[in-house]
Symmetry: C2
Subunit: 392 residues, 2 copies
């Protein structure tokens, strides 16, 4: 194996506190002759010729970036572990094989069999792809998974990418993001007039409508731009990743909610020829590993965001602020108009938008009396109020 290839690691077995000697790889025929208890092998050994695969995964993230880069590493390890090493994956971070924004084309051409990124990065060639990552005032992380796996979105996404010879799979979610870091407080839409705020994708389209400039600056350059005053404000992800970039050192006000990215889906890209040539069990492993990592990444962000928020507020004395309701209302209305305009541009986007709207209607109705009603109800206990105060 090459030096930079990830060796299979029993990450998840260690997580559960269980490690076994394991038999992966070549197994002596003698094994099948040893007596075994009923709880163990019940069938005969089968001799198989098993083709080995060595693939490359290019990503849009800095190497080992918390949550995102580490998520790509972990997904590659999962696939290697589950396949007993039959499918080995070498992970190349942004810039190591191709630049971040070349990941889609690299997978399309077969330069790499796999890509790990977010669909809104390809909006230039596929505007409709933005629905499969994040939509302002759209579906949250759980709802995106529901729309994907039981609402038809994955089928639409697969069709959208098919002409490009690329297969998509959801493989993570950041959970709800934060509304950004500002040097001055935001009281109304007027405060966006002339504001230079780093915000990519549809969120950027929306704030342009209220007079902001919305440059898209690569993650690694955001702090410098904010600190130097080249930009007045920025969003990035949430407490976990924002703390990692030290953005609090360059702007004091930390706004919520993250209206522009309520639950951003991460995508695994697969070169279609490579996918079709795989045996069925390896396809099942890739699909299952990606779906497991949707759960794992979201769990990690939820846990780490909570901890990072505590650090930001209590140790770094960051000032949390909520966007005013009338501003949020205005941004929501503009978002709806921006999405509607997009849908009018081509039939592919129209189809996806209609599916999204239909799903949103049902999802909102359920969310109101389900998750939202519960989240509010549990705050009624005065002891919980005290619990939240005691975090100071």
């Amino acid at each position: 194996m090459r030096d930079d290839e990830l060796r299979p690691r029993r990450h998840f077995l260690k997580q559960a506190g269980l490690v076994t000697a394991g038999l992966g790889g070549l197994v002596a025929l003698n094994d099948c002759r040893r007596g075994r208890s009923p709880a163990e092998a019940k069938g005969p050994a089968i001799i198989k010729s098993q083709r080995q695969y060595q693939w490359t995964m290019v990503t849009t993230w800095p190497r080992n970036f918390p949550g995102l880069g580490t998520g790509a590493n972990r997904l590659a390890e999962r696939i290697q572990s589950m396949s007993g090493g039959q499918l080995q994956i070498s992970v190349k971070a942004a810039g190591e094989r191709v630049p971040a924004l070349q990941v889609f084309d690299a997978v399309r051409s077969g330069t790499a069999e796999l890509g790990h990124g977010a669909a809104y990065y390809w909006k230039g060639k596929l505007p409709a792809a933005q629905f499969f990552s994040a939509v302002p005032f759209g579906l949250n992380a759980q709802e995106m998974a529901a729309w994907m796996y039981h609402g038809g979105a994955l089928k639409l996404w697969t069709e959208l990418y098919a002409d490009f010879g690329v297969v998509p799979l959801p493989c993570g979610n950041t959970g709800v993001q934060m509304g950004g870091w500002f040097k001055k407080e935001i009281h109304s839409a007027a405060d966006f007039q002339g504001l230079i705020m780093r915000m990519p994708g549809l969120g950027g389209e929306v704030i342009r409508q209220v007079g902001a400039a919305a440059p898209n600056i690569p993650g690694g350059e955001i702090f410098q731009a904010l600190d130097s005053g080249a930009i007045d404000a920025t969003e990035w992800v949430g407490p976990y990743n924002d703390l990692a970039f030290g953005l609090y050192k360059a702007a004091p006000y930390y706004y919520y909610p993250g209206w522009h990215e309520p639950g951003t889906v991460l995508e695994l890209l697969i070169n279609k020829s490579a996918w079709l040539a795989l045996p069925a069990h390896l396809q099942a492993i890739i699909q299952g590993a990606a779906q497991a990592d949707y759960n794992e990444m979201l769990a990690e962000f939820n846990a780490r965001n909570g901890q990072a928020l505590d650090t930001l507020v209590h140790a770094r004395k960051v000032q949390l602020r909520r966007f005013p309701s009338d501003l949020l209302q205005k941004l929501a209305q503009i978002s709806r108009e921006v999405l509607g305009d997009m849908a009018n541009q081509d039939t592919a986007t129209r189809k996806v938008y209609d599916s999204f709207l239909g799903f949103q209607k049902t999802a909102l109705g359920w969310n109101q009396i389900g998750e939202s009603a519960y989240d509010q109800a549990r705050l009624l206990d005065p002891a919980v109020e005290a619990l939240l105060q005691s975090r100071s």
Copy 2:
């Protein structure tokens, strides 16, 4: 294979619209000599002796029960597909091999290698297990996953079951449940006095404190008990499963939120000896399949609950009601006392409760400005208000 064994199905590949001929099973050595493109096999074929496993999974659910029983079937299929048929699983529904409430003991004794159920069913022998399924006013579905995978809960759960020779893994979540079906409206805690309401677990403990009787009746018998008047009220799961039982025919008022089960975790039980004897890649497959199914089941419940809610409200004219805030506050306080009492009973429960409390503190802080703040913000758009009205 026996007739009742599930044959591997490419469920997930079909879901993504992709099916391939596949090479699973025995492969002729000739394959490795055929010329392949760079996108395909890059390495030599390896000859392996692969032991076959034929396991049994017993479940606590009726055969093919929506979401739950079908979830067990799907998990078994995933494992079979990912292992290329090396690990085959025969699923036995409640009563087919052992009764529902014997599932834990069946796995413990090795009668079955796998079990599919919920940890609160074993509260008699493991009171602390209740924390790993559902806690009144506790963590929601996303937070449970975060506590499990990045908050130490899975480690504690594994330790708890270790003495019984059983290994647990989270393998699903129902999402938030509903507060139940009532023949009369609930205005205050006084309306629980003398009420006979089917409610198992910790929820039942809580309503007993406000004077209700809380029998635990098996799912399949609930409708009859409610319709006949043997009970006055019941909870079951959420709109999807409640509609399946036709409970609306026996009681007109459908209350929310589901304070007693905010995000119930489903568990996969594994006989420890069987687990330790598995090769590493099959352990990784089981762990990954279970984690993928946590995501899948939750996605399914979210999608189907939304649709079923629409049916119940608009087609069946069910009357939705929200529990009064002061009642919820009282139930929350009682829940806290019940949990505290449990924790005082033994050190294992104390340890789990302390972990839960620590995690809850951070989770609530993040949820308030994260998911909750976002869910409320998106309702500010008047068009969304109109959207929700238009569902009538």
